[in-house]
């Protein structure tokens, strides 16, 4: 079902944890759907110098968190905002169709944190144009269910 890459990141997830004095925090998902992702960022000169996550969710949610945080560590905010869910899934050698939403969640967690950063510092970022923070209540993901 899962690629080896997914299993490897699930078994040894990178960047698990919290950052006490985080410069930005993002949280997406809701317990109803079975996944919540929370990301903590340390940002210096618009560069992500550290990132940690906590995830309540299935194997691919954990692996996606791990992979996404790896992919943006050391990158600029703009680069991080350019990360697509597809890129996360690809880096994991793919996700089953019903699990693609986990990669979407990772992308959204990053955006949510960067939005937090932008608000805290009154900044604007190209990648956040038109961004609406999730209310946390809606079912905004599609499990890709067959009819």
């Amino acid at each position: 079902m899962y690629s080896e890459k997914v299993m490897e990141h699930f078994t040894n997830p990178r960047n698990v944890g919290e950052i006490a004095d985080a410069d930005a925090i993002g949280q997406v998902g809701n317990p109803k759907c079975g996944d919540i992702m929370k990301m903590y960022f340390k940002i210096e000169n618009d560069v992500i110098v550290d990132v940690k996550f906590k995830t309540f969710g299935c194997g691919s949610a954990i692996a996606s968190s791990s992979m996404a945080t790896e992919l943006i560590k050391g990158k600029t905010i703009d680069e991080a905002l350019a990360l697509s869910n597809r890129a996360v899934a690809d880096a994991l050698d793919g996700l089953p169709p019903v699990k693609m939403h986990c990669s979407v969640l990772a992308e959204e967690a990053i955006k949510s944190a960067m939005f937090d950063f932008a608000q805290r510092h009154q900044r604007e970022f190209e990648g956040l144009k038109g961004y609406q923070p999730p209310t946390g209540d809606e079912d905004h993901h599609d499990h890709g269910e067959e009819e």
Binding site: P31, G34, F56
Partner: protein, 391 residues
């Protein structure tokens, strides 16, 4: 170590069962409908299996009809009754916690113009007999209540339900797929009209089941065609499967009390030790009225699939009611029906024991599971509050 604790999902075929099946996968290949010696051997074998199953239910062999599995039996009972009796009425009563084979058959019938009442259950998974009585209307044609639930193991008061059905002259079907092989069902005593059972839950092969249809009860066929199964279920018989089913049923009921005692002891040992070791854990299902092989626990703050993956990595096979294991949006309808929040339902783990389960395996699980739960909790944002003492 490989530890299979998913016997409610399916069971291995017992060696004696396979041995009984083998002739019908090799030399004795005749079609029971054929007149010649090749066919007669198969016909006889089907008759023997029918007798074996009838005996376990204290039924007459001509009340047993083989099907392609438990789901087919459920669909047949429900749709067959609905279509046969639609001129009498179009109302069906079932429960919110049935297996999907019953639920989705009922939902289908709703689209076709039937009305269905889904009885709620209490937090232990039991329906209320009062609710049932109140739900019966003049146009009620069928009550379908599962004997024991496949997820949480709760055993319904089938005899009382049957008596109420009789009083109101309503047909009563029970999905006993999870019960068959664990509990004695005496159709001479039990006021049930139809019982669905399936071979692969009691060490028989997959893809064969049966419907007990009480003499005199007339329902429509689901699969029309040849004259097999007294013209009630068409299709060349799955001889090997049927023979295996018969043998498995016979074995299961050879000493069902000993089976029950052994599994109950192992189950309680597993359940108690896990609940003692792992905080923020709750038992799902009824504390006493439950299948002898079922443990269903919810571990707060974590999600089921990641638990299953972690268990799988140490060789333990289990199941969960989390939506993430099924690719659907909502967690198990059963866990929601007993009142669990989505969050807690997602963190459920079902461990179901079987005849091959050993104390050593139980010990292994009790050793392996706590650190897995802890590791996932440490990764969970929901657990932060707990650590911070906010709970």
């Amino acid at each position: 170590m490989n530890v299979y604790l998913d016997y409610s999902a399916t069971t291995p075929v017992k060696p004696e069962v396979l041995e009984a099946m083998m002739p019908f996968l090799t030399q004795q290949y005749g079609n029971p409908s054929s007149l010649h010696r090749f066919g007669r051997e198969s016909r006889k074998a089907v008759d023997v299996a029918r007798d074996q199953i009838a005996k376990t239910l204290n039924a007459s062999p001509d009340e047993i009809f083989f099907t392609g599995g438990g789901s087919e039996a459920d669909n047949w009972a429900i749709k067959g009754t609905a279509y046969a009796l639609q001129s009498k009425g179009r109302h069906i009563i079932t429960t919110a916690i049935e297996h999907h084979a019953v639920l989705h058959a009922c939902e289908y019938l709703e689209k076709e113009g039937f009305q269905v009442t889904y009885l709620p259950v209490d937090e232990s998974g039991l329906i209320s007999l009062e609710d049932l009585k109140n739900a019966i209307k003049s146009d009620t044609i069928l009550i379908s209540v599962m004997y024991a639930n496949n997820e949480i193991g709760t055993i319904q008061p089938i005899e009382e339900i049957g008596r109420i059905a009789r009083e109101h002259r309503v047909l009563f079907h029970t999905d006993a797929v999870q019960t068959y092989g664990h509990l004695v069902m005496d159709t001479k005593q039990l006021p049930v009209d139809m019982i669905s059972i399936s071979a692969h839950k009691l060490y028989g092969p997959k893809g064969v089941g049966a419907l007990y249809l009480r003499k005199g009860v007339r329902i429509h066929n689901l699969i029309h065609g040849g004259g097999q199964e007294k013209k009630k279920r068409a299709g060349t018989e799955n001889i090997a499967g049927i023979v295996g089913f018969g043998k498995a049923a016979e074995l299961a009921y050879t000493d069902v009390e000993a089976h029950d005692q052994r599994l109950t002891a192992l189950r309680d040992n597993l359940k108690n030790r896990l609940m003692e070791t792992i905080p923020y854990t709750r038992l799902n299902g009824h504390p006493e009225r439950r299948l002898c092989n079922n443990v269903n626990l919810s571990f707060e703050f974590i999600e089921g699939e990641s638990m299953l993956l972690s268990l799988d990595m140490v060789g333990i096979g289990a199941s969960s009611g989390s939506a993430c294991t099924s690719g659907s949006l909502d967690p198990s309808h059963v866990l929601l029906a007993i009142g669990l929040s989505h969050e807690i339902a997602h963190g459920s783990l079902r461990l179901t024991l079987g005849d091959m389960t050993t104390q050593e395996e139980i010990d292994y699980v009790v050793e392996q599971l706590p650190p897995i739960v802890q590791r996932l909790r440490d990764m969970s944002p929901l657990y932060e509050q707990v650590k911070e003492g906010n709970r």
